[in-house]
């Protein structure tokens, strides 16, 4: 018990901060993922084959390649790519991106591929009549999207988005390889200095379980809210 006490002797406070970091990375990654989904879902549903091809290759490649490989690409290649772009604009100094941004971006891109698929599925399963009705009523495009399609889409998408959230939350453990101090990295440090890996990794597992459990509770309430009237 002393091992996880707060203060100088235990690792309680460090692990608590690390858990907050995990949440921060997961939430940021999820939001970046939504951003990507916002761009790629319309491309997927577009009439133009070339746009479909772009969106399809994004989701296929990202969902077919291990997360760890994507993280290594960004970890080792991220600052190189930014420096390359900076050099075009005449900036020649060394640029280092911090681990948080690298981690959240790489997990976000992965999460975005899953979100894209979820949104595509949700929009496609909305009844055709709804689109036609909007057209007949002569609704303006943004009203039609935000007031009619979006609420229905969210209701259909939330159960699947909760899966994406779970995947994203668990994927954050992988960015410990980049040195960002989240739950996994902190447990690794604690296990190394106390020589008690069994305890600390089990505790890390418990922390993840608590996080998934709490987020499920939250999502269930959200789901209820969006299925009013069904």
């Amino acid at each position: 018990m002393e091992l996880i006490s707060f203060g100088d002797k235990g690792w309680g406070d460090e692990l608590f901060v690390a858990a907050l970091m995990t949440i921060a990375v997961a939430v940021t990654a999820m939001l970046i993922g939504f951003l990507f989904a916002l761009i790629f879902t319309p491309l997927k549903l577009s009439k133009y084959k070339i746009l479909n091809l772009i969106a399809n290759s994004y989701t296929t490649v990202v969902r077919g390649v291990p997360e760890l490989l994507v993280i290594y690409l960004f970890f080792f290649g991220g600052s190189g790519a930014i420096m390359y772009v900076a050099q075009i604009f005449g900036y020649y100094d060394y640029i280092e991106i911090n681990a948080f941004i690298t981690g959240a971006t790489s997990i976000g891109i992965i999460s975005g591929a899953y979100s894209t698929e979820v949104f595509r599925g949700a929009i496609q399963s909305i009844d055709k009549g709804q689109f036609e009705a909007c057209h007949v009523l002569g609704l303006k495009k943004h009203i039609y999207f935000f007031k009619v399609i979006m609420p229905q889409m969210l209701r259909l998408a939330i159960p699947n988005l909760s899966n994406v959230w779970q995947i994203t939350l668990k994927d954050t453990s992988l960015i410990s390889v980049t040195g960002l101090v989240e739950i996994m990295r902190q447990s690794y440090i604690a296990a190394g200095s106390t020589r008690d890996p069994l305890f600390f990794y089990s505790f890390a597992a418990l922390l993840y379980l608590i996080l998934t459990f709490l987020s499920m509770k939250l999502i269930n309430r959200l789901e209820k809210n969006y299925s009013r009237g069904y």
């Binding site: 390649v65 291990p66 994927d171 992988l174 305890f199 597992a205 993840y208």
Partner: protein, 224 residues
């Protein structure tokens, strides 16, 4: 683009593919049995037994695979007693630790897939078997299991692909699978893009094969 690096590292990554495929097939093999076993426990009427199976799948699906590997590889070695038993022969090898972790992980997902497949079987089918005078074991092995396998094929195909991606974590416990070798090449040459393209295409190629295999099986086992 460094074409020479692509040409020289391709054979290295290709030979690492063997380890990835070995890890994948071994863990899918053990995971399938674990999954079937726990799916049957889940359907048990005894609350304690089904609760145990639920707890197993909840824990392994709710925690990252990385934690599971670390607990098994770094954690279990800490127990003095284990070091004296024959289990230590297995647990000191990162290869077997990875397989144990992967099997337990995929077993949890497989048990969920099979459970939902068993639950979607119409009761009429089982009742028909019973009224024909078939015994319980026969109904289970000859009626329920074949239907469940057919039902769960698409979901299991996804699980195979998830597991293929999961095997990349073996590189964190010193195994040189595709990702392990890729990381080694990247950290010695600092050419992440080239290596990512080759390693990524190998993974995508395996995904493609799995996808088509499942499609073929789905077609084969469709209701006539």
């Amino acid at each position: 683009m460094d074409l020479e690096l692509i040409i020289t590292s391709f054979p290295k990554l290709l030979s690492a593919t063997v380890i990835t495929l070995k890890l994948l097939s071994a863990s899918l093999f053990f995971g399938l049995f674990l999954g079937l076993f726990f799916a049957i426990l889940r359907l048990n009427k005894n609350k304690l037994i089904s609760g145990f199976a639920y707890g197993y799948s909840y824990v392994f699906r709710g925690t990252p695979l990385l934690v599971q590997i670390f607990i098994i590889y770094f954690g279990l070695g800490q127990i003095e007693y284990l070091r004296t038993t024959f289990l230590w022969v297995i647990l000191k090898e990162p290869y077997w630790c990875a397989i144990i972790a992967f099997s337990l992980n995929t077993g949890a997902y497989t048990s969920e897939i099979l459970r939902s497949a068993f639950e979607t079987i119409k009761p009429g089918i089982i009742e028909a078997g019973r009224s024909l005078g078939l015994n319980k074991v026969f109904i289970f092995t000859k009626i329920q299991i074949p239907i469940a396998i057919k039902q769960s094929l698409p979901a299991y195909g996804n699980e195979i692909i998830l597991m293929l991606k999961g095997t990349s974590l073996a590189s964190t416990v010193t195994l040189m699978d595709i990702t392990g070798v890729a990381k080694f090449i990247i950290s010695t040459t600092f050419r992440p893009v080239e290596v990512f393209i080759i390693a990524g295409s190998i993974y995508l190629f395996i995904t493609f094969l799995v996808h088509n295999l499942i499609k073929y099986l789905e077609k084969k086992y469709r209701y006539q």
